[in-house]
């Protein structure tokens, strides 16, 4: 008990280690202490409870925090995807004509000159056009 008294004195002098402070708290938690030291009971049992609560809270917090972070990340992710899709839908389905410009790619090189683009489009359409003769051959194919 003299030891406890000495530890408490050291505690108030700010000279105790963590292990010594734990010993003091254990002494108060476990049972009887001299009457003259009972006056310190609320202080050390209160600290003990506070320490326990802090330890449990410390264990639980990261998990809750992790869950919170995951949920937040998921929300940001889903929000990003939704925004991207919404933008895509607006650009391709709602805005008249979209935002894309006409172009021609010749041998892998892209050109956007309207005259060239139209000329190449007409040329392609000309390639698939048909004449009376072709129509006639189609209806009355020549014998090989």
């Amino acid at each position: 008990m003299d030891r406890l008294d000495e530890l408490i004195n050291r505690y108030f002098d700010g000279q105790t280690t963590c292990a010594e402070e734990r010993l003091i708290r254990q002494a108060f938690a476990q049972g009887s202490v001299p009457d003259e030291l009972e006056v310190y009971r609320p202080l050390f049992t209160g600290l003990d409870k506070l320490s326990e609560r802090h330890t449990h809270a410390g264990d639980a917090k990261p998990a809750r925090r992790r869950r919170g972070l995951c949920s937040l990340r998921l929300r940001y992710w889903a929000g990003g995807v939704a925004a991207g899709l919404a933008l895509y839908l607006v650009l391709t389905r709602i805005l008249p004509g979209g935002t894309a410009e006409s172009y021609v790619v010749i041998d892998g090189k892209r050109y956007t000159d309207p005259m060239l683009v139209q000329a190449k489009a007409r040329e392609a359409l000309g390639n698939v056009s048909y004449t009376d003769e072709e129509l006639s051959n189609l209806l009355f194919p020549l014998e090989p």
Binding site: G97, K120, L138
Partner: protein
């Protein structure tokens, strides 16, 4: 999970479904356009915006192959695939000595932005090894397209 989260996830799923359906209405031949559009000896044209309005088209894409030989098998396979699919309403195929010379396919209508659009897929071999492949989507009727393609003597 909160109601807002559920709403958000629901929206994302619906949007994904919409995109998936949009992709499914395409044909195998669409792959040819993206695959060979930048190849050497190939001229690709894509029209967008006001140019199309005068032709009553919404989409125009064409590929002109200077020498179609390396691509012919794949193109013919894709066209045959289109013909076999339920997406073709009318077809006009010309084969010569087992080689596809021309194909005029009218595909099933498609609805975009609340409008019903006609779709056409045209393929024709030209002189020597040249060939042209065109995909058209728009309000132009079959007659309008044929009039446009008719070459007066």
């Amino acid at each position: 999970m909160k109601l807002n989260d559920l709403k958000l996830i629901g929206f994302v799923l619906l949007a994904c479904l919409s995109l998936s359906l949009r992709a499914q209405e395409g044909l195998e031949i669409a792959r040819v356009f993206t695959k060979y559009g930048n190849a050497k000896g190939v001229t690709q044209v894509e029209l967008n915006g006001e140019i199309l309005a005068s032709y009553r088209m919404d989409t125009y894409r064409s590929l002109v192959f200077e020498d179609v030989t390396p691509y012919a098998r794949e193109i013919e396979g894709c066209l045959e695939d289109a013909v076999r699919s339920s997406q073709v309403r009318k077809r006009q195929l010309v084969n010569q000595s087992g080689i596809l010379q021309s194909a005029y396919l009218q595909l099933a209508d498609v609805r975009r932005k609340g409008r019903k659009l006609q779709r056409y897929l045209l393929f024709k071999r030209g002189g020597k090894k040249k060939a042209t492949l065109i995909y058209i989507e728009g309000r132009l009727s079959e007659k309008e397209l044929m009039d446009m393609l008719y070459k007066k003597p």
